[in-house]
Every structure is written in C-alpha cells, then in structure tokens.
C-alpha cells in the first residue's frame, strides 16, 4: 500500500511551519504504511556548505565524531535521533569516498546543499517524533510511510531514496522490471545500496539528470522505461515533481492554495493544513508530469 506526501510552499508565510505540516501529513498516512517512515526537508541552498544526512546505526555519535575528525577538521555535527547531519565545505566526491572506505558501518541517507533527509523503521507517528520533524522549517518537503512489499523492513529499505545531490524520490507502488533496469544502470556507473525497486527508480532519475535531461523529461522517459505501477514524487532543491503511471491505480490528490501546494495519497493526510477546505483540490491525471 504505502503513503506518500509532499508540500511545496509558494510563499514565505508558512516556512517556519513546514516541518509541522509534513509531520501531520505523515501522521495521517500512518494507516497506509505502518512499517517505516522517512522524509526529506529542503531549506534554502547553502552557498559553499554541503549537508550530509547520515544514519549511524549501531555506532555512537561521539565515536563517529572522533573517526571523521581524523580526516576532516572543520565540521559541524547536529544530532537527530540515530541520524546526524554533517556540515562541511568538503566536496561530495571526497566525503562519499571517505565514508565508504573509512567508516563503512554508517550509511549515508542523502546529501546536498539544501536537503535534510531522515528515515527509520517503526510507525510513522513515532518516527516523526523521534526526529522532531515538527521543529523543522524549510521551503518544501516530501515524505513516505511504508508497507513493505518488495524488500525487508529495514532503514535501507525505507524511503525516500536519494541517489544524487539534493535529489530524492518517494514511491507508492511496485516496479516489475527493476532488476533489469538496475543491471543496466550499474553498467552505466550508478551505485545501489539495497534490493529495493524504488532505489532503482531514484537511480534511473539521477542517471538521466546527470546526462543533462531535465526532471520533467526524465519522468516522461520513465513512463516507457519503468514497468509497473507507481505514483512518484521526486524532490529537487527547487521543488518537486509528481507522476502517476498511465493506468493510475495508485492514488494521489493535490490541494493548491495561494500559499502552498500539497500532494498526498489520500485527502485525510492534508485535512489539517490551513485553509485546505477552500483549496483547489484535484486528482492528477495518469501519465502527466506535474511540477512545482
């Protein structure tokens, strides 16, 4: 089943409340996905600083700090439950390599100049509390509540999947040709960390964008290359895009006001948003890319 949500603020009015809105939306979708939850919050882009969202798993924050400090001096660590956000001016090529080689016991959830990304197993209602999602501010965010089907209930199997700088994807549905697509993407240099079908879709999008396609064209291409059923929300530092497959058996509803655009699997996830009863509410058409 799974639930997906996204909110994009058109004005600055609610930036301080973004986390609170997204938290309520994930809460409302807990019924569709009680196994795990995750979310990405985008803030204004930093000029030089990169943010790396890292899941520490078993390792303690202090031990991680000691280890990473051996290699880079100027860092800032902020702790969120069992995740940390590492801020540094060091380029992704260096940090990604460093984490993989020297501290393989932690897993990188995502990185970029704008994105904060967290995910964890457990009921979404508990997960959002653990990460204190309500306290976040930002410009837009997407989230996911998972009912596991394609792979096990693990943090690695949770959404969103981020396979490139400031990009991430949440997915409701399942893909049937993900093994084939994964094999051809690996040949093309894309890395994967799980057996999950959504990670393949995220990798597909990153791969196309790295070749110079824009997000809209990439999603259009996915209609012919990805086989299965899906509603996708793909986040970037500028906003997010929404796509349902051409059969459209996976739900989505959009509510738009002058201040925000919200997307969710079901309306009940948006019922708490301000002025939602007077919002323009519609169901996105199959096979059409919407972006904000």
């Amino acid at each position: 089943m799974c639930g997906i949500v996204g909110i994009y603020l058109k004005t600055k009015k609610y930036e301080k409340h973004l986390g609170k809105f997204l938290s309520g939306m994930l809460d409302g979708m807990a019924t569709r996905g009680p196994d795990s939850a995750g979310f990405a919050i985008y803030t204004k882009e930093n000029k030089n600083t990169f943010k790396y969202s890292i899941c520490l798993d078993e390792i303690k924050e202090n031990d991680f700090k000691k280890k990473i400090s051996k290699f880079i001096k100027k860092i800032k660590l902020t702790s969120y439950a069992d995740h940390v956000v590492l801020e540094t001016n060091e380029k992704p090529s260096k940090i990604l390599n460093l984490l993989k080689k020297e501290i393989p016991e932690v897993s990188l959830v995502g990185y970029g100049k704008s994105i904060n990304i967290f995910k964890q197993t457990g009921n979404p209602k508990d997960v959002v509390k653990k990460f204190k999602l309500s306290s976040f501010s930002g410009t837009h965010g997407i989230g996911h509540t998972r009912m596991a089907t394609e792979s096990a209930i693990t943090t690695q199997g949770s959404h969103p999947y981020s396979t490139s700088e400031d990009e991430c994807l949440v997915h409701n549905g399942s893909l049937s040709n993900h093994n084939n697509v994964r094999r051809s993407l690996i040949k093309d240099g894309q890395n994967f960390n799980s057996e999950n079908d959504t990670e393949v879709a995220a990798g597909y999008i990153s791969n196309q964008i790295s070749k110079g396609e824009d997000l809209e064209k990439t999603l259009k291409n996915s209609l012919k290359d990805l086989d299965g059923f899906y509603t996708f929300i793909a986040g970037t530092k500028d906003g997010f895009a929404l796509l349902r497959d051409e059969i459209a058996c996976k739900p989505a509803v959009v509510a738009e006001t002058k201040d925000y655009v919200a997307v969710a699997s079901e309306f009940q996830a948006m019922a708490h948003l301000p002025n939602v009863n007077s919002a323009k509410i519609f169901e996105p058409k199959p096979g059409v890319v919407y972006h904000w």
């Binding site: 509803v253 509410i281 169901e283 058409k285 199959p286």
Partner: protein
C-alpha cells in the same frame, strides 16, 4: 440533527444513521468536519437526507439504499460504490471509480470525476457535470453514464449494455465501444432522466456510445432483458 466528526467517532455517526428510529420524525442530518475520513455515510438504508460539509475519503455513501446524501466538497475513491437506490450529490470533484458497480439510484457529480467513473456499473444513473477520466464505464453492464464535459481515453472499454451519453469530446473509445445513433427513443430516455433529476439540459446535444457486441456473447433473444 448535527454530527461533528471532531467530537464524535465516525463509527458512532454511521451507526446512528444506519439505524434511524423510524418512529421519530428526524429525517435531516448534517455532518461537520469530515476531514477526509473513509466510508462516511456507508450502508445507509432509510429514506433520510444527509448533508456532509467538507471533503470526504474513500467509499463515501457506499452501498446506499433510499437515502439522499449531498457532499459539499470533494470525494475520494469509490463514492456511492455498489449503491442500490437513493441519490448522491457531490458538489466538488470525485476521485476514481465513482459509482463503481452501482445497481440503482442516481449519482450526480457537479465537478469532474477521475479515472474509471462507473466501472462495472449495473443499473445506476451517473451524471457528471464536468469531465470524466480515462477508462470510464469500463465493463459497464447496465444504467446510464451522462457526461456534460469531455471523456478521457478508452471510454467504455469492454462495455456490456450500459449507455453512455457525452456532450463534449471523447479522447478515444475503448475496445468494443462504438458511437451509436441518437434516435428519438434515446433522446426521450435522456430527457426523462434529466427531468427526474431536476437538471435543465438539452438531450439533443449529446452523442451516444455503447457496445458493438463483438467482445461478449450477446444473444439477440435476450434483448428484452436490457
């Protein structure tokens, strides 16, 4: 009588509406703060009048018998699904599978209806004042789907003996669905349908679509059954 879903559980409200005391004269009810909850007004079976003020979730007024339900908002998937009789009016848009498998009664959607509107309908009358999404009236068996706006791709795919009337454009017809002649009998039928539902509309502006009867085993001996 008012019910506020911020104060009462949906189960309490539905149970009350499903078991109306017939000795009392209270026949009008109002539901406030529906908050997109699922199955609001499902399984009503008496001649009562319910107004829902706000947006609802899935299967609103499903399995309805006799009751009139008016939703001042949008409805989620499967509004009036498997409805037997009565009347459901949606003031906003409807999500997919509106009126699915409906046996009787009338469903009026004042906005747009999404994909698969009237899927497998079995006798219900559905009037959509806006447009309908793709694969509407899929495998529709009996009843009327009337669309004042446009219909998206694959209208009436694998249709049986339901009738489709569309005033706007049809993007494409599904397998075994064809345009049919709109003769006097059909105009009179549609005119009667509009009149019964209190809708002022000229039936002559509509085109009719239905089954070409190549896909399923249609026997002319059974024609009186439709």
């Amino acid at each position: 009588m008012n019910f506020d879903l911020n104060k009462k559980t949906l189960r309490e409200v539905n149970q009350h509406l499903q078991n109306v005391d017939r000795k009392k004269n209270t026949r009008k009810f109002e539901i406030l703060n529906p908050q997109g909850q699922h199955a609001i007004c499902a399984g009503l079976k008496d001649d009562i009048d319910v107004t829902v003020k706000g947006h609802t979730g899935y299967y609103c007024a499903g399995m309805n018998q006799k009751a009139t339900v008016t939703v001042h908002g949008n409805v989620g998937t499967g509004v009036a699904e498997n409805m037997m009789s009565g009347k459901i009016v949606v003031k906003g848009n409807a999500s997919q599978s509106a009126g699915a498998t409906g046996h009787g009664g009338a469903l009026i959607i004042e906005g747009d209806a999404s994909s698969r509107c009237g899927i497998s309908m079995k006798g219900i009358d559905i009037v959509v004042k806006g447009s309908v999404g793709h694969m509407s009236a899929f495998m529709a068996q009996k009843g009327n789907l009337v669309v004042m706006g446009d219909a998206d791709a694959d209208l009436g795919d694998s249709i049986y003996e339901a009738k489709i009337f569309v005033k706007g454009k049809v993007k494409s017809l599904g397998a075994d669905c064809v345009e049919k002649k709109m003769d006097k009998k059909n105009i009179d039928e549609l005119s009667k349908l509009f009149k019964n539902l209190g809708i002022k509309e000229d039936p002559k502006k509509y085109k009719r679509y239905g089954s070409s009867r190549n896909l399923y085993n249609f026997k002319i001996d059974n024609v009186s059954a439709y």
